[in-house]
């Protein structure tokens, strides 16, 4: 036992510090002595643990920083900032001082200009053409680990390469090298809008008074001057911004912002037409070039309409903050171009207010805000934001895709209108629902047409069935039903239709006519159950004959009445797909677009409608003629509002087709004349309006067929008389308009002006005040209000009211009253 080993010997043995003979001796002893063997095993375990600790802490012992040593432990604890331990995984993403540039044939890489998780962007020279390019590169290291990234990378390049547009960054070339995949694009110098916004936000302008805000915003150089003039992709922001004051209330800036957005919207529309949705529009992806252009970058998440596999339909890619509700909420919903409209709207919001539209900082909160929270109106954030831009922005950001601009083009159009100081097409969000009362009435005319068509068809259909008797019975019931319906005898009509359906539950004519009757009954009784009933009947009809247009058209009208314009548009488009020359679908579609404020689309559709109708009266059955007039008249209304000279021709055709006996056409003609300068035109307007009033049916039937011609004719007389300085006549016409239930603010303003001109300031003030309290809600925040009363499309404009108001105020010498 005296041979037993002491701790010192064991330690030294374990450390290999002993000479050969001693080791041999020790080994022999360990083999034979259980006690020493145990002691040695304990030591070995100890040492193994120590080695583990040492290995893990190894990099730490050289720690140069004391700052991160936990204070609580008095310093000296081994810590480290060295991350070389982990370099293997992340080297491709991190900036490293000893970075090796990849080798790509034909390119000379100069430096790194940006990095993303997916790869690196280099500045390079394309040697063959000796031109500078930005080279986006996906390292082989990354791609071998994530093959799906290669697919996406290639797709991004291919998608972007298909686009040729001034405001979309062009792709020159793409390919692969042993080091990885790449594509080359134009090297642009500038800065992303996110940087612009950040810089402006950093100036605290949202807290500043409007005056100082203007001072900063109207500094014209701020947005065109970037620090890096040597062709870097991410330009440095200018170091200082001087506060010299030019222009008023940031108008220069807002116009600039509108210009950027308009260009971006046009470019997006172009991409959409190519079948590509960007899906990741945000300030960071809109590059403001040093030459002032705006460029859309990163078609990385682009989904082409002909390719579905790579990015799962509902998967969450893109940047949450700018994602549309359908994008974050999408399960299997197919996203369409309207998602980009939303994202552009959210971007615009930030340009207007320098803060995100939705303030959440937590992801889950943000998601819920995207889905449910309406953004604070920009003017509540910064009061000097132009109303029009706010309207455009909020319309683009509507939660429901169908309430947004339906195309990026439509948004561009509104932005351009703002830039040209034209009235814009967007409506305030709350407005959509209110227009309902006008829309509802439009229906009778369209429906009546349907009823007539179906009576004609009924005879034809009869032959196709063997059961002549039953046919004849059903024919009789349909005829009776329609007659009762036309007399508003709902119960009797329903009885007939129900009986017909009992004979044949799948009779298309019966189903459609019955459905249409329900729609009309709804207009009178306002019972929503009727709409559901109508929908159900139409669905049955569509099931019976899915390729017949009438039920689809009726369904469009139904959804219009039901205030579901998007569904209405879909239905009308379906009709057009079935029969591209069916004028009713074009006219209905155009009308819906107009009420939806897409005037460009409205004009296009109505033009198609009138093309289908033709401008000849010959060969048109007398009962069809009113519908042809209706088509031309609606086109004229849009054209008048848009200031098109073609309106004159459209009106002429409508008057010719109607033998100048159609009140709405006459009223529109008067409106057209009033829009022209000159006394002769005003006289002409009054004459037209007077004849319109004469042929108009007196009010009282208004509730039934919705014709507003009489009050509008009176209004036109009043306005014309005012132009002719016939104050008495103007006042009288205004009173008559009031009596005919015209929009009271017009009449009161006319009365105010007339009274003022006659020196009766008390009466003038009184009327002015009344006018201001009865100001139409729809026109408080929007430049126009398009309505459809079943006879004609009608535009009330804020400009007209405001001009009258200004005149009245001038006369009473009082500018203090506010609308």
């Amino acid at each position: 036992m005296e041979d037993c080993l002491n701790r010192d010997q064991l330690e030294r043995y374990a450390r290999g510090q002993l000479d050969r003979t001693t080791v041999r001796h020790l080994k022999g002893h360990l083999a034979s002595c259980a006690r020493c063997k145990t002691a040695y095993d304990v030591l070995r375990r100890e040492n193994k643990f120590a080695a583990g600790v040492k290995g893990i802490l190894a990099a730490s012992d050289s720690s140069p920083t004391q700052t991160e040593t936990p204070r609580a432990f008095g310093g000296g604890a081994p810590t480290s900032t060295d991350i070389s331990l982990l370099a293997d995984e992340s080297a491709t993403i991190r900036t490293g001082p000893r970075e090796r540039f990849p080798e790509i044939e034909g390119y000379q890489i100069k430096r790194v200009v940006g990095r993303g998780g997916m790869g690196v962007v280099y500045e390079a020279v394309q040697q063959k053409l000796n031109r500078p390019v930005a080279l986006k590169f996906l390292p082989a290291l990354v791609s071998s680990a994530h093959p799906e990234l290669v697919t996406r990378f290639k797709r991004e390049a291919a998608a972007a390469a298909r686009l040729h547009h001034t405001n979309i960054i062009p792709i020159y070339d793409f390919g692969e090298s042993p080091d990885g995949y790449y594509y080359a694009m134009e090297l642009i110098s500038g800065q992303p809008l996110s940087a612009v916004i950040k810089r402006l936000a950093g100036m605290d302008i949202h807290l500043a008074t409007s005056g100082s805000l203007a001072a900063i915003l109207t500094e014209p150089d701020v947005f065109t001057r970037t620090g890096a003039g040597n062709g870097t992709a991410a330009g440095e922001p200018p170091s200082t911004v001087s506060g010299s004051s030019t222009g008023a209330k940031g108008r220069v800036y807002y116009r600039q912002a509108a210009r950027w957005m308009a260009d971006a919207a046009e470019a997006l529309h172009y991409a959409h037409l190519q079948g590509m949705i960007h899906r990741d529009i945000k300030p960071g992806n809109l590059m403001l070039c040093t030459d002032g252009r705006i460029m859309i970058l990163d078609f990385g998440l682009v989904k082409t309409t002909d390719e579905h596999s790579v990015t799962a339909t509902g998967s969450l890619v893109g940047t949450y903050r700018y994602m549309s509700p359908e994008q974050v909420g999408a399960k299997r919903i197919t996203l369409d171009s309207r998602t980009d409209v939303y994202s552009l709207g959210a971007t615009m919001y930030e340009l207007l207010t320098f803060q995100p539209a939705l303030p959440a900082t937590e992801q889950s909160e943000l998601l819920s805000q995207i889905l449910f929270k309406e953004p604070t109106p920009p003017r509540k954030v910064i009061p000097s934001v132009p109303v029009d831009l706010q309207t455009i922005c909020l319309k683009a950001m509507e939660k429901s895709p169908s309430a947004r601009y339906q195309t990026a083009k439509a948004m561009a159009t509104d932005l351009n209108s703002y830039l040209q100081d034209l009235a814009i097409v967007a409506r305030r969000p709350s407005f959509v629902r209110r227009t309902g009362k006008f829309v509802r009435r439009r229906r009778l005319e369209a429906i009546t047409a349907l009823a007539l068509v179906f009576l004609a068809v009924a005879a034809l259909l009869g032959w196709r069935y063997n059961m002549e008797t039953r046919r004849r019975e059903i024919d009789g019931l349909v005829k009776g039903g329609v007659e009762h319906w036309q007399q508003y005898e709902w119960t009797a009509a329903e009885r007939d239709f129900q009986q017909a359906l009992r004979s044949d539950p799948h009779d298309y004519r019966v189903l459609v006519n019955f459905a249409n009757m329900c729609g009309d009954q709804y207009l009178v009784q306002k019972d929503r159950a009727l709409l559901r009933k109508e929908e159900e009947l139409l669905n049955r009809a569509i099931q019976v004959a899915p390729r017949r247009k009438e039920a689809w058209n009726a369904r469009g009208v139904l959804y219009q009445v039901w205030l579901r314009p998007a569904d209405a548009i879909t239905a009308f488009e379906k009709v057009i797909a079935l029969d591209p020359n069916y004028y009713a679908a074009w006219v209905n579609l155009g009308t819906t677009q107009a009420v939806q404020r897409d005037l460009a689309e409205a004009e296009r559709c109505l033009l198609r409608g009138t093309e289908c109708v033709g401008d000849k009266a010959e060969g048109v059955p007398p009962e069809a003629r009113p519908y042809h007039v209706m088509a031309w008249r609606r086109l004229a209304a849009v054209q008048i509002y848009l200031g098109r000279s073609e309106a004159e021709h459209s009106l002429a055709v409508a008057r010719r087709l109607s033998d100048s006996k159609d009140p709405p056409t006459l009223v529109l003609s008067a409106v057209y004349q009033l829009a022209q300068p000159g006394e002769a035109e005003a006289t002409e307007a009054v004459d037209l309006a007077v004849s319109a009033a004469v042929v108009s049916q007196p009010s009282g039937t208004e509730g039934r067929d919705g014709d507003q011609s009489l009050p509008r004719a009176k209004r036109a007389v009043a306005l014309g008389a005012l132009r002719l300085r016939q104050w008495e006549r103007a006042a009288r016409a205004a009173e008559e308009a009031l009596a005919a239930k015209d929009e009271p603010s017009y009449a009161h303003l006319v009365l105010a002006v007339a009274a003022g001109q006659r020196g009766d300031l008390v009466a003038a003030r009184e009327h002015l005040r009344t006018a201001e309290t009865t100001w139409p809600d729809e026109l408080r925040h929007a430049p126009f209000h398009a309505t459809d009363d079943g006879k004609s499309l009608w535009f009330d404009t804020a400009a007209e009211l405001e001009a009258l108001q200004a005149e009245a105020r001038r006369l009473v010498g009082d500018a203090s009253t506010q609308p």
């Binding site: 701790r7 810590t79 993403i93 996406r152 998440l301």
Partner: protein, 190 residues
């Protein structure tokens, strides 16, 4: 095996225990920051991520129920950090990272090696630091020099004025206690 110190987590839930929070902070702040760096963030951003996470932890620890069978703090924290990194990327570097990339990254095959390594190392660092506070100075020094620095025993004795046996004893004691601590905190991994 995975048993982040229930005691520490338990104590942290008691907000009045300022020391516990300081300890917690000292352990997890550097861990998160280093992980963020390892994930490619710049120093400032990594700092920000760590701060943000600590802020959230401060709010959430109160509600965090430690349950050895159910959730693991390690996994919980990793998810939290990843979300913060992703959100910082989205917020601050819109041109450098896309949510899509993050997704690919987040979907990368587990286990997350850098996280595992950092997790172990930082806990070890923490344990060593804790032990050093509680053990006699010469014990700590002997351990450091003899075990961690691999000094010959003679030199350690000479430097610290200890006998060889005292050095060995210090080694054994320190290693035993360290093993206990580490096992309790991160499991029997060494």
């Amino acid at each position: 095996m995975e048993t982040t110190s229930a005691t520490l987590l338990g104590r942290v839930r008691d907000v009045r225990d300022g020391d516990a929070w300081r300890e917690f902070f000292a352990l997890y702040f550097p861990l998160i920051r280093k992980y963020a760096r390892a994930r490619g963030l710049h120093a400032d951003d990594a700092e920000e991520v760590a701060q943000e996470c600590m802020k959230l932890l401060a709010q959430h620890m109160r509600r965090f129920r430690y349950s050895p069978n159910r959730g693991r703090f390690r996994g919980y924290l990793r998810t939290l950090v990843q979300h913060q990194i992703a959100s910082l990327w989205r917020r601050k570097r819109p041109r450098q990272a896309r949510a899509g990339d993050f997704e690919a990254w987040a979907a990368a095959p587990a286990p997350d090696a850098p996280w595992e390594r950092l997790w172990l190392r930082e806990h070890l660092v923490y344990c060593v630091a804790r032990l050093e506070l509680r053990c006699a100075d010469h014990t700590v020094q002997a351990f450091r020099l003899y075990v961690l620095q691999d000094w010959p025993v003679e030199r350690v004795c000479e430097t610290l004025g200890l006998s060889a046996n005292q050095v060995y004893l210090a080694k054994t004691r320190m290693i035993r206690r360290l093993r206990e601590e580490v096992t309790q905190l991160v499991g029997d991994v060494l």
